[in-house]
């Protein structure tokens, strides 16, 4: 299995719902608590696994605004695992989820250096690195109804821009999405082979115009004379 996320950049409106849902779930989840620094002060910051940034492409008035949610890509060639000296960072063979064993991490940050996507953050209070777990503490919980065995970010997304599934299964919902919409990897040239895919914005829908002759006020009034409608 290659579990991962497919993010639809055509419908993501940058609402941050997934960022906060992730925070909320994980602060009481297996990697919790997620520390918040200076929560009411000058530099509010906190450990976060999911960042949604907005970009503009092109120039006014033809610019586009695009939002890009980013969390761990659970790469196939996960260099963050390669470089980890203690083995705290590892990739599960069964489903490909990349995890950080909190009991082993020594907080050297090297995995963060190796991650092109900024997926990992140091929790200063615990001294360990934390990151998206693909909600491993939800997806296998058989006490939850099946529909709820998905990452918190996927369940909350109001524009249906997040999808979860097995990208190793060509008939899975996510694999189909990637095929149909041309799902892309971020920074493919680095060779990390990220499992998460981004669906690019769809080509803008164009619409047909009504084809009818134009006429001025007097001509129209003349034409409409006698027009009547039964109430």
């Amino acid at each position: 299995m290659k579990l991962g996320l497919v993010i639809d950049m055509d419908t993501c409106v940058g609402c941050q719902a997934c960022a906060v849902a992730c925070k909320q779930w994980n602060t009481s989840g297996t990697l919790g608590p997620l520390t918040d620094y200076d929560p009411y002060g000058a530099e509010p910051d906190g450990v976060s696994f999911n960042h949604i940034r907005s970009y503009e492409v092109g120039e006014y008035p033809n610019s586009e605004t695009v939002n890009m949610p980013m969390s761990c890509m659970h790469c196939e060639t996960a260099e963050c695992v390669t470089v980890c000296p203690t083995g705290a960072s590892y990739k599960r063979e069964s489903d490909g989820i990349v995890l950080v064993d909190q009991d082993k991490c020594m907080g050297c940050n090297l995995c963060a250096w190796a991650c092109p996507y900024g997926a990992r953050e140091l929790d200063e209070a615990s001294g360990t690195m934390k990151k998206c777990t693909l909600c491993v503490d939800r997806i296998y919980d058989d006490e939850l109804p099946e529909q709820e065995r998905q990452p918190a970010c996927v369940l909350t997304c109001p524009t249906n821009a997040r999808h979860f599934g097995d990208l190793d299964d060509p008939e899975s919902h996510v694999s189909r999405l990637v095929r149909e919409r041309g799902g892309q990897q971020s920074l493919p040239e680095l060779g990390y082979n990220p499992v998460n895919r981004y669906l690019p914005p769809r080509p803008k829908t164009t619409a047909s115009q009504a084809k009818a002759p134009k006429a001025g006020l007097q001509e129209r009034l003349r034409g409409w004379l006698g027009k009547a409608v039964t109430r």
């Binding site: 940058g14 970009y55 503009e56 203690t86 082993k104 963060a112 981004y198 690019p200």
Partner: protein
Amino acid sequence: MNPALSVIFFTVVSGTGFGLISLATLLDSLSRGRMLSTTELLVASVAGIILATAGLLASTLHLANPKNAWRAFFRFRTSWLSREAVFSVLFYPVATFYVAGLWLYGDHRGMLVGAIGVATAALALTTVFCTAMIYASLRTIPQWNSPLVPVNYLLLSLSGGSIALLVVDTSVGADMEQMLIALSLALIAAGAGSKLVYFSWIGKPRGPSINTAIGLTKGRARLLESAQSSSNFTTREFDYRAPLPLLWSLRLVVYALGFVVPALLLVWMWQSETAVTASAALIAALAGLGVERWLFFAEARHTVNLFYGRQRC
């Protein structure tokens, strides 16, 4: 990259320490004991070990959760940091045996001690190599992802070590070896040359662009909103933006302090071989090396910066 002072201190000091002890033992073996006296060797070795240790200890300050540091040896298979840990630890017993051998046998040390010395040098230089490979193996930082980096680290370790050896030689030795100055100058030149190649190689960023990062290539892409009120771990660690004029002037400082001044001082030493001159050269070289390492970090552009609006890495 945020230039962490503890990491800079570590690579400069332990690099020099490892270079010092390596040069000492290798020269001793190559010259079959004729170039350096036992005292010089002892001082050089012990000084090298102390410097290396100081650096290594400094590097552990960088750890946020040091109680797990003992685990760092177990992923030798894949991790350069693990390998560095293993080799740096293996260095100690071997280096200790070497020093013991020097101490016990002194001028009558035989081939065994010599071999242990070579092993010490091998372990020391391998450690330096592993350190460099930690950086060079990272594809996320195009400025580091090159064989130039380990070459540089080794050359600068050796050239720094060679100047340190001169300090030992002039302080402790009876006669100063002119050969050492020549060797040192050669190493400085090699280091300077390799650094020049490196600076020109990293010249214009030509790694990934913001367009391949966000997957949209139809036009110029710019960050509109990071959705962060303040810095976070990622920006503090990776988004270090020094002004370009500063970086350029610091490159000049690297040359001046790290290569030119020591070289001039060394040339002068040909006439007057004083420990003071050698020490001055060492201080200048270390300062220059410190700036060089600082630049190594400050000029590094981690690809995560693309997501924060950098156009190119």
